[in-house]
C-alpha cells in the first residue's frame, strides 16, 4: 500500500497497446480509464473497427481503475461491433474492474474470459 502514494505521471493515465493475433485483435489496457483517457480508447477502438476488426478482446489485467465514462466506451463499442457481426470481449478483469462490471450489469452483456488464451480458444 505504501507504493500507492508514489505513482508517477505515466501511471496516472491510460496506456493502450493494440496487439494483432492470428484469430483475434487484442488491446491491452494499462493504468486509469477515466474521463481523461476514455476519448482516446474510444478513438482507438473506432480506428480498429474501421480497419475491419470486429472481434476485439480488451485485456484488462493492468487496468487498475475505471469510471463510468470508461464503461460507456465499452457500451458504444460493443454495440457497434455487435451490429457489424462481431463482439467486444474482455479478459483478465481485476477484482475492482469486475466489481464495477457486476454493479452496472455488464457480466452477461459482454463475453468475459479469464485470459486472452481462453478468449482465443472460444473464437
Amino acid at each position: 500500500m505504501a507504493g500507492r502514494a508514489e505513482w508517477n505521471a505515466n501511471e496516472m493515465s491510460l496506456e493502450i497497446f493494440p496487439e494483432k493475433l492470428p484469430a483475434i485483435q487484442v488491446v491491452r489496457l494499462k493504468g486509469r480509464l477515466d474521463s481523461a483517457g476514455a476519448p482516446r480508447l474510444s478513438e482507438a477502438l473506432e480506428t480498429l473497427e474501421k480497419a475491419g476488426e470486429t472481434r476485439i478482446v480488451l485485456e484488462c489485467s493492468e487496468l487498475r481503475y475505471i469510471s463510468s465514462v470508461g464503461l460507456s466506451v465499452f457500451i458504444g463499442s460493443g454495440k457497434s461491433l455487435g451490429a457489424a457481426g462481431g463482439a467486444l470481449a474482455f479478459a483478465g478483469l481485476t477484482p475492482h474492474v469486475r466489481s464495477m462490471f457486476e454493479m452496472v450489469g455488464f457480466i452477461g452483456l459482454f463475453p468475459v474470459y479469464v485470459t486472452v488464451d481462453e478468449a482465443i480458444a472460444s473464437a
Binding site: M12, D34, Y65, I75, M103
Partner: protein
C-alpha cells in the same frame, strides 16, 4: 495519527486534472489508513461528480473539494458554481437492459449512489453542493 483530518482542494475545470486529484486523495487515504476498497469507491465517486461538473456544468470556475475523515467514516463535499443540477434526480439506468438497447452514459450517478453509504444535494448561495459519505468498514 497526526495527519490533518481534512483536505481541501480547488480543482480547475479541466478533465486532465482528474489524475492529479486522485493522487492527492490517495496520499490522504494512505495517511489515514483508509482501506483499499473504500479508497477505490471514493475515488470513483469523486471523479463521477467532479467530471460531471467539468463536462456539463457550463462553468470555468474551480470546483471546491473538501474531504474529512474520522474513525467511522469519510465525508466528501463537492461544491461548484455551474448551472443548477441535482444529480440525485437523474433517472437511474436499468442494469438489466440488453446491450443493443443500452445508451452510453448515465451510469456515473448510479455508481456513486451504489458505492457510497449516503448522498445528498443542496443548492446553496448560487452553488451546487453534493455530499457523500462512505463508512470506513462495512459489516
Amino acid at each position: 495519527m497526526n495527519a490533518p483530518r481534512e483536505l481541501a482542494l480547488e480543482v480547475a475545470c479541466d478533465l486532465a486534472q482528474l489524475g492529479a486529484v486522485s493522487e492527492r486523495l490517495d496520499a490522504f487515504w494512505v495517511a489515514h489508513g483508509v482501506s483499499d476498497e473504500a479508497q477505490a469507491d471514493l475515488n470513483i465517486a469523486v471523479e463521477e461528480i467532479v467530471s460531471n461538473v467539468m463536462r456539463h456544468g457550463e462553468t470555468r470556475e474551480p470546483i471546491r473539494l473538501r474531504v474529512a475523515v474520522d474513525a467511522e467514516e469519510v465525508r466528501v463535499e463537492v461544491e461548484d458554481r455551474g448551472r443548477e443540477f441535482n444529480p440525485l434526480t437523474h433517472p437511474e439506468p436499468d442494469p438489466h437492459t440488453p446491450l443493443a438497447a443500452r445508451r452510453p452514459g448515465g451510469l456515473g450517478i448510479f455508481m456513486v449512489v451504489k458505492l457510497m453509504d449516503r448522498t445528498s444535494y443542496e443548492r446553496r448561495d448560487g452553488a451546487n453542493c453534493f455530499r457523500m459519505v462512505r463508512r470506513r468498514q462495512r459489516a
